[in-house]
């Protein structure tokens, strides 16, 4: 029979080896977290630059004159797809995060505020230029299956129709002014052109019908 001393030693060695291997797993997780944060930050910086470009151009026209409607072009459509995709990616990354919860909260706050600024500008342009693009506000709960499925539906919509979607995690305090203004009580909730409100999961057909009105 194996002696007690040897058993203790064997168990101790096993514990150390097990802990080392699991530390490697945690280290890998941390590495992926860093890469994800870096990727999300780069994407947000890119979109921030583009949005800032529109906002600055708009302010320039306000002061020095010009036609605001010149800003409504095909690039705006690209921007709207990008905006939505970054939102979706952020949700996916955050769900896989192990150590960087605070960083994601900061990034998301920054992203939501950027979206609000873009939404304000786009609404102004739509009204001034009588444009036919549709603006959609989408409030989700990232731990809810219905919200995840709604995300897929909106992803299809943004790629096939002339719509711009601004997605918001309704649990974020920083956007409480939006929650109050639109009286958001459940997830997912969709507001189309400040006019139509859908609560609960809404299918592609219904959404297309609403945006084509």
């Amino acid at each position: 029979m194996v002696k007690k001393k040897n058993l203790t030693k064997a168990f101790f060695v096993s514990f150390i080896i097990g802990t080392l291997i699991f530390s490697l797993g945690l280290f890998l997780g941390y590495g992926l977290d860093v890469l994800r944060i870096k990727d999300a930050s780069t994407s947000i910086s890119d979109i921030e630059l583009e949005t800032l470009n529109y906002i600055t151009s708009n302010e320039f026209i306000d002061v020095f004159g010009g036609n605001h409607c010149d800003l409504v072009n095909s690039e705006l459509e690209g921007l709207s797809v990008q905006l939505f995709e970054i939102g979706q990616t952020l949700v996916k990354y955050e769900k896989r995060n192990i150590f960087s919860g605070t960083e994601y909260k900061l990034l998301k706050s920054k992203y939501f505020l950027l979206e609000v600024r873009a939404y304000t500008l786009f609404t102004k342009l739509k009204n001034q230029c009588d444009s036919d693009y549709d603006l959609i506000l989408y409030f989700y709960d990232q731990n809810q299956d219905d919200s995840e499925n709604q995300g897929y539906i909106l992803d299809k919509l943004v790629k096939s129709d002339n719509v711009t979607i601004f997605s918001f995690d309704r649990d974020f305090e920083i956007i409480s002014f939006l929650i109050n203004r639109y009286d958001i009580k459940k997830s997912p909730t969709i507001i189309i052109n400040e006019d139509i409100k859908f609560e609960g999961i809404t299918y592609l057909g219904e959404l297309r019908e609403a945006v084509n009105q």
Binding site: M1, V2, L7, A10, S14, I17, D39, K156
Partner: protein, 406 residues
């Protein structure tokens, strides 16, 4: 929630695996050189075994144990087929008839034990066979009086279909784990593929429990509870036929697991009892913990699978099958960054640890290892689920006390 359980299971599993493997560096159980071979009685309980009993008896007759010291007792337990006549044609074999009184084969074994003359006796199922040296080798492990039982290392005889194929893998694994348990003196199993006992001791302890579904487990647990040791004889190789159909496998496993639950309750006082050393304070609690974890992982995985399947179907319906469009294929960078290490890492650890243990197990019992076979795939992915259903059924039957038969 599920990944917390996964991490705990894989962490504990990894530490245990390394711990077990560490034991390989220590010597196996001490063996003695037998100067004068003792008399041994081999009891074979039979119940409708006309197809296999002849080979079982022949394997004993072909063993190198001196025939004048080997007593073969076949106990016919109300067979309705030709078993009786098949056995009758062998000379120098004691054949007795037993009226089935108990719920297990214990009644038949006890009938044989009552007339056994050997200093040691072995129990051999009628679907099993011994190797040439099995009996000689197994006796060398009785190195001290405290050893009450020694079990052989069994291999599967009939590896023909998926059911038997996965059991072949499982049995290799089982033999290795039992060898580890034997080395740290926590082994509490005996089986019907040649387990040898001290005759006087078992008679003194009151024979086999005739009202027990797994009398082989019960007797080993009783020995442990009385302070005796159960050892594994790696050098004593035996062979057995395993269930070849879903129904047979199901019935066998449900009976085993019911027996385990029954005996666990019967010997619950051993758990966390200082008197029983590692057996009571490590092995039994570990087995209970593993069972709970298996259940928890099963429930959580089932929930996740059903939830994801539902969402996937919903996604297909709501997106009108556009989900399959080529344009949706993700980039490599995206795939890498969306790896969920919380799930992937523990799953990889579990697979790697199990693969390595399986490789070692096959090496220990000198079986050929084949990687990437369908059996291996089923063993890893389907068998645990099936095992869980066996456990749930066993638990259900134990709670509602449905009929017990062997």
């Amino acid at each position: 929630m599920i990944y917390y359980v996964l991490w705990i299971v894989s962490f504990v599993g990894l530490i245990l695996a390394v711990f077990w493997l560490n034991l390989l560096f220590f010597n196996e159980g001490r063996r003695i050189k037998i100067k004068k071979l003792p008399h041994v009685s081999i009891i074979i309980p039979v119940h409708n075994e006309e197809k296999t009993i002849e080979r079982t008896i022949r394997s004993l007759l072909n063993s190198n144990y001196p025939k004048n010291k080997l007593e073969i007792i076949v106990v016919n337990d109300e067979s309705t087929d030709n078993t009786f006549n098949v056995v009758k044609k062998f000379k120098n074999i004691i054949l007795i008839d037993n009226k089935h009184k108990g719920i297990g084969k214990a009644s038949a074994v006890n009938a044989g034990l009552r007339i056994a003359k050997g200093e040691f006796f072995g129990v051999l199922d009628a679907d099993s066979e011994v190797g040439k040296n099995s009996i000689r080798n197994i006796l060398t492990y009785f190195s001290k009086n405290k050893i009450g039982c020694v079990i052989s290392a069994f291999k599967v005889l009939n590896s023909r279909n998926i059911y038997t194929g996965i059991q072949k893998i499982e049995y290799a694994f089982t033999v290795m784990i039992r060898e580890f348990m034997s080395r740290i003196n926590t082994l509490y199993y005996s089986h019907g593929v040649l387990s040898v006992f001290r005759t006087d001791l078992i008679k003194r302890l009151g024979y086999f429990d005739e009202n027990n579904l797994t009398e082989d487990l019960e007797i080993a647990m009783r020995l442990k509870s009385k302070g005796y040791e159960v050892k594994m004889a790696l050098k004593s190789i035996t062979y057995t036929r395993v269930p070849g159909t879903f129904k047979d496998l199901w019935n066998q496993r449900v009976r085993w697991y019911r027996g385990f639950l029954n005996n666990l309750i019967k010997y619950k006082y051993v758990i966390f009892n200082k008197k029983y050393g590692l057996y009571g304070n490590f092995q039994l609690p570990l087995n209970i913990f593993s069972l709970i974890m298996l259940g928890l992982v099963f429930i959580l995985f089932s929930y996740e699978i059903i939830r994801n399947l539902y969402n996937w179907i919903l996604k297909i319906i709501i997106l009108k099958f556009e989900i399959f469009s080529i344009g949706d294929l993700p980039s490599l960078k995206y795939l890498l960054l969306t790896i969920d290490i919380k799930y992937i890492f523990p799953i990889i650890i579990v697979i790697l640890v199990n693969s390595f243990l399986l490789y070692k197990a096959h090496k220990i019992i000198k079986e050929r290892t084949r990687l990437f076979t369908l059996n291996l795939f089923i063993y890893f992915l389907v068998f645990p689920v099936l095992t869980m259903f066996h456990w749930v059924t066993a638990l259900f039957k134990e709670i509602f006390q449905t009929s017990k038969e062997w």
